[in-house]
């Protein structure tokens, strides 16, 4: 086989980000001591550049390059832009968080950039190998980020758990991939799909492989019963890392799910729809019910994430283009809401104080009415109350589930969402109707305040005018 020079253009954003990440590493090495902020600024600049490049290179037609291992299409482009956008916000909050706690290290930003690179490769994967490569690049960076604060025993414990369980999940995924390769004789997702459409009866080994793959993806998403790591890691990690782990990688995991199941395993759609249904119902139940018993906001939000993942799966369960678009809309919206919610914990914290217990939110309205209002927006949006965008996210996936004649599933989802309303509203009650121990007005920097306000108001604005984003998701999926 002659060597053909691959087309580099579709992968230009990834190449740029890889180069920039290395550059940031060098800058940190030589100037990190004297000008720590250079690292931050350069990292942010690389993200902005990369996002602009993604938009500029928006592919009209799906293109595959690097010998059929890398694909650039509408979905990957949109997901990348939003992952970068979310990361941009994350790094902003992180700088504030790290500055206050003397944790500011150049590695933090380098690792974040590499994690983003991993996610971008992940959502652009056209072969099992690329997919695994992207996944591991992302996961390894995240493990390291969780362990960033070496003095904290909680963070180390969380990183340990994350790493061991993540390795287990990776192994499972890899095993599933090897089964697929064994059956189909190819690593390319297109070939794997073609194999299923040609062969008459579906090989049972293929289904076995599917089970392993679903388990691996479910772990990454944090769907029950593979969710056990989520609360511990969210609570133990430094809040800025929790913020990162809880947002951008969810978008990437959605991309992975789409690549593996929809692009690669369309022939066994019936099977994975059933599996995801089980996972979805369990996630919504576990997430919403256990969240009620939490006293730590980070843990509560962790369970809320699990519940959101259950909702997110609903659109994929619908099994239609419109359903996938609804799920995509959901995951993007969720990332924005999670960003705001964890961002709020960072904004309210100070040196030596994490502000991650529910009690820390008592009487916030007395101390800062504006931030209290933003909390209200975030919580109501997460609960799915109109007119915030969280409502439209839930509504669009539910509509698709009903359109797919799974009315019972929609009913269960709505009942569990109502249960979930309780713990979101509890936060609102604490903020507005309870007396706090702390009475001093809150002081925080204007820059983070602007950031969190933009974040929360975007949720409100998208709630008033959701159709543009929804339409974007529909066109991105073709």
């Amino acid at each position: 086989m002659p060597f053909v020079t691959p087309e580099f253009l579709p992968a230009l954003p990834e190449i740029l980000l890889a180069v920039m990440a290395c550059l940031v590493l060098l800058v940190d090495l030589y100037f990190g001591r004297r000008h720590p902020s250079w690292v931050f600024l350069l990292a942010q600049a690389s993200l902005v550049l990369c996002a602009l490049l993604c938009i500029a290179l928006y592919p009209e037609e799906p293109t595959t390059t690097f010998n059929g291992t890398f694909r650039s299409d509408g979905m990957s482009a949109v997901l990348k832009v939003f992952m970068i956008l979310v990361t941009y916000f994350v790094l902003f909050y992180s700088k504030f968080y790290l500055d206050v706690r003397d944790l500011f290290k150049g590695e933090y930003f380098v690792l974040s950039l590499f994690a983003v690179l991993g996610m971008m490769i992940l959502v652009s994967a056209a072969s099992l190998l690329t997919l695994y490569l992207g996944l591991e690049l992302m996961a390894l960076c995240l493990y390291a980020l969780v362990a960033l604060n070496r003095e904290s025993s909680m963070a180390s414990e969380a990183a340990m758990k994350y790493f061991v369980l993540g390795a287990l999940a990776s192994g499972t995924l890899l095993y599933g991939m090897s089964l697929l390769y064994g059956v189909t004789g190819s690593l390319e997702l297109d070939r794997i799909r073609e194999y299923q459409s040609v062969g008459g009866e579906i090989d049972i080994i293929l289904v076995l492989g599917l089970v392993f793959i679903v388990v691996g993806v479910a772990f990454k998403l944090g769907a029950a019963p593979f969710h056990m790591w989520v609360p511990d890691v969210y609570e133990g990690a430094p809040t800025s890392v929790t913020l990162f782990v809880g947002t951008a990688p969810k978008i990437a995991a959605f991309g992975m799910l789409m690549r593996l199941l929809v692009d690669g395993l369309a022939g066994v759609q019936g099977d994975w729809i059933e599996m995801l249904t089980i996972l979805s119902v369990l996630s919504m139940a576990v997430g919403n019910i256990i969240a009620i018993a939490q006293t730590n906001l980070k843990r509560m939000l962790a369970y809320s994430t699990i519940a959101h993942v259950g909702f997110l799966l609903l659109g994929i369960i619908a099994g239609t283009r419109a359903g996938y678009a609804a799920s995509m809309f959901y995951v993007i919206v969720y990332a924005l809401m999670g960003l705001g919610a964890f961002g709020m914990i960072i904004v309210l914290g100070s040196k030596g104080f994490e502000s991650d217990r529910l009690d820390d939110f008592r009487g916030l309205n007395e101390r800062s009415p504006w931030l209290a209002f933003l909390v209200l927006v975030l919580m109501l949006s997460m609960a799915g109350v109109p007119p915030f965008v969280g409502f439209w996210a839930k509504w669009s996936v539910l509509r698709e589930v009903v359109a797919a004649d799974q009315v019972w599933l929609a009913t269960v989802a709505v009942v569990l969402a109502v249960i979930g309303l309780f713990y979101y509203l509890r936060v609102v009650r604490l903020v507005y109707f309870e007396e706090g121990q702390e009475a001093a007005p809150l002081v925080c920097g204007t820059d983070v305040k602007v950031m969190i306000s933009t974040n929360a108001l975007a949720i409100l604005a998208l709630g008033v005018y959701p159709s543009a984003l929804l339409a974007l998701c529909v066109t991105a999926l073709g």
């Binding site: 369980l165 499972t172 076995l208 089970v211 056990m228 511990d232």
Partner: protein, 656 residues
Amino acid sequence: MTDLYVWVVLAPLIGSVIAGVFGKSIGRAGAHWACILGVGVSTLISGAAFGHIVLEGGAAFESTLYHWGRVGDLTLEIGFLVDPLSATMMFVVSFVSLMVHIYTIGYMRDDPGYQRFFSYIALFTFAMLMLCMSNNFLQLFFGWEAVGVVSYLLIGFWFQRESAIRANLKAFLVNRIGDLGFLLGVAAVLFYFGTLRYSEVFELAPSLQGATLSIFPGADWSVASLICILLFMGAMGKSAQFPLHVWLPDSMEGPTPISALIHAATMVTAGIFMVARMSPLFEQSETALSVVLVVGAITALFMGLLGLVQNDIKRVVAYSTLSQLGYMAVALGASAYAAAIFHLVTHAFFKALLFLAAGSVIIALHHNQDMRSMGGLRKYMPVTWITSLLGSLALIGFPGFAGFFSKDAIIEAVHLSEVPGHDFAYWCVVIGVFVTALYSFRLYFLVFHGKERMDEHAREHLHESPWVVTVPLVLLAIPSVLIGWIGIEPMLFGDHFGDSLFVLSEHDVLARLGDSYRGEAAFIGHAFATPPLYLALAGVACAWYFYMVRPDLPALCARRLAPVHSVLVHKYGFDLLYEEVLARIGRGLGSLFWRIGDRILIDGMLVNGSARVVGWFSSLIRQLQTGFLYTYAFAMIIGLVALMSLFVFLRMQGHS
């Protein structure tokens, strides 16, 4: 044109918002100027519309302003229909409203809620105009409810007073009963015609002939009767027809006489207007017309009788309003829609006049409203005296005055009507004339003539009211005298209303009346040959004899006829029935359902019970999150094995 008509409703709304929201910062003068300008704009445009459509015979205007929403196949719209009927109403409503606004400057001068009051009355004007100008049932209902809300706010304007709170609650609740019927009627219209737009509904109305439905098995109801009677229930509430009349006298708790006027001369006519507007529907059902006729007749006579025993000046006027509304309903029932609207117009002017005159008296006596402590005021308040006399003459239907033309037309129309119940109605309205004259002149003599019964202190401060009060009185007195002359021929017998009123030829009593009509003077001449005129004169004479010549007689009568007097004082016991029986049963049922349904079933078992179960379950399964790595790994393996068993092993068994 749409742009212009939009301002008829928008201008008062803007005025109201300015006075209501920015009242504190723009001050009293700012508030009243904002509202008066707004209502003034409405009046000007309404006047222009009246001139264009009615006087010049221009084409009726219909247009949809915007689509409000969509429910299934039904488009909800906001739109205007300006035809002769609504143009007449618009003009009357905005004109009376404008007078009220000007008068309020004087009447409410010392009230702390000055801006709030202006905001309310401008809002009322907006709602009432929305109601009149609507081109569909939904907007009609919106305006209907909106005037209800404002009336609630106005009656309870002095919210520190216990009696005001009770009165506004009462008005609201009683109107709810009527509105329920109205809403059901609108729903029935939607159900049968599939549209809410007047023009489409009226076009389809003849298809109702003979249509029946059975709500209860075995009993077939005529659809036309059902729809019309349900709609009329709404009118009974809003226009205070028997037996939903109880709220109107109590509504005088508001700052009288302005709110009383708003209620009595404007809002209550909404029901009459609505029935006239729905004439193509009502014409399809003889039963409904008969109901309207009988209810109106009962109201006209029996509410008038109550006016005889009241001592509160504004309550007398209020009962007089009830009785006059009965006359209008009678006209509707006799298919003389034009006569009803004609009476509505003349009544609006002379009743407004009487209310404002009563208000002027009340101001002069420092908010004392008891007629037993008045008397001889004509010396002190000449303008109020003369205008009151003119208003009273118009009310009793003295030949030549406005009320004469409209009331006699109604009586003649009933005389010619053949709707079941017309005999009863005829007797009621004829006797009603005597009663009207009696209570009107009882009020007039007690207030303006005879001994001065007020105390020394009050007498010293007696003087004529300021110009903002007297000018509206004079302005209203002119139409009270003249409008009948001008109006009778075009409104009753001409084509004033064009196509906006629909009468079947076999019901058309006005046409038959028109055959023998020979001009205004002849109409007056004819009155000398019929009983109503003599009954009215007899009423005046009785009042004069009882209250001027032998002031001891009324008390004697009350003693001799104690049972009758007691029935009248207790208003036939309706308040007692509603409050002690119906309300008590309602409250009993409510508290029963609350205790069993809400407290035990819903709160106890469903809400708190399920919440407790979820909470308990949550704390239980929370224990699974042990924090140990091996537990987590184990859980993952179990999940994997479970999925494998479900999807692979079970299926393999199925294959083999």
